[in-house]
Symmetry: C2
Subunit: 222 residues, 2 copies
Amino acid sequence: MRTLHHVWFSAACRMLRLGLAEKGLDFATRVERIWEQRDAFLALNPAGEVPVLIEPDGTTLTEAWVITEYLEEVYPDPGLLGADPVSRAETRRLMIWFAGRFAAEVTHNLVGQKIVSRFVHDLHPSAGAIRAGREAVGYHLDYIDYLAEQRRWLAGDALSWADLAAGAELSLLDYAGEVPWDGHPEARTWYARLKSRPSFRPLLEEEIPGIRPAPHYADPDF
Amino acid sequence: MRTLHHVWFSAACRMLRLGLAEKGLDFATRVERIWEQRDAFLALNPAGEVPVLIEPDGTTLTEAWVITEYLEEVYPDPGLLGADPVSRAETRRLMIWFAGRFAAEVTHNLVGQKIVSRFVHDLHPSAGAIRAGREAVGYHLDYIDYLAEQRRWLAGDALSWADLAAGAELSLLDYAGEVPWDGHPEARTWYARLKSRPSFRPLLEEEIPGIRPAPHYADPDF
């Protein structure tokens, strides 16, 4: 059986759960409390980080970027990168934008402070981080509005890893009630379409221990 | 003509210069003083970052990872990722290791303080960063020793982007005289082999304005 070692509040892990489901690949998930640094897990990934994907043949893969490229190569249908090199470059550019810049400016500040800090105790809640995250989220939603206005999906006409990367970040922010949807109609329509896909359902049904999701979190018509 | 917008002290740009040369692709380089935030350059890449590669057909590519994957897809021969999905996963894992962890723990601390701060004036030299970088470099060289002991090149039997990513970081550190080669014979032998390749020569001949390279920087038998 394929196993994904993940933790609830990792957007990279959520992106892979979405991608595996979109590709119709069966997998079991195993929550790894990375802050406990279990020896058995460090043996699997000395870096001590999730995601870690163990393929049915025993191949062990670490790093979200490595895993998405591996899945595209080994399970190309349906493709989630794009139909040609230029489209794939645009998908990868947006994956970096959301998993890199969006995550650093928004998700780490808001989800890090409101959720991750409940588990990782050397991460102390900071009002400054929350303020910075709330300032940045609007600008990033404007950019999603801009993309969604011109394209059916964020990187083009087809669903891609760019949608899954952005959706994974937003799903965590939305869980924390930190997405100001009002004033971002295009982003909201795009996210509603993404959220209604079967691949998204397990994320919407997941409860992070001890933390209640925002009331509209699982509602497809939010 | 293909043009790479780069800056001297960017390891990502150096990695691409090596990869383009290894693939036998002609290209012009243009130094971009990114801290000046030129409008014409921001129009090319709103993120204001190098590398930016402009292909002969006008395709504009940003982000080193996006560019390496694009080059592999469009110019597959010689391949620099590996022969099969598992080998390519290992190459990509090591690219992330060197461009991510190694860069953050070593290059940013040492090259950032000793070279980048001469140009980017809001970056103030810090003795703490230099100390942290000098502490981390030995552990990273041990890891290169370990890889080079078992493999001809870092990711396997063939030269790959992993060697170019690691070599790009080390070339900047070596320019700054910050690589403690003694006690790291395997890493030294691997780097000497990489350094003697024609693709490396332009980096060895380059002088960063106002900063002299360490005496052995361009010496293949250092």
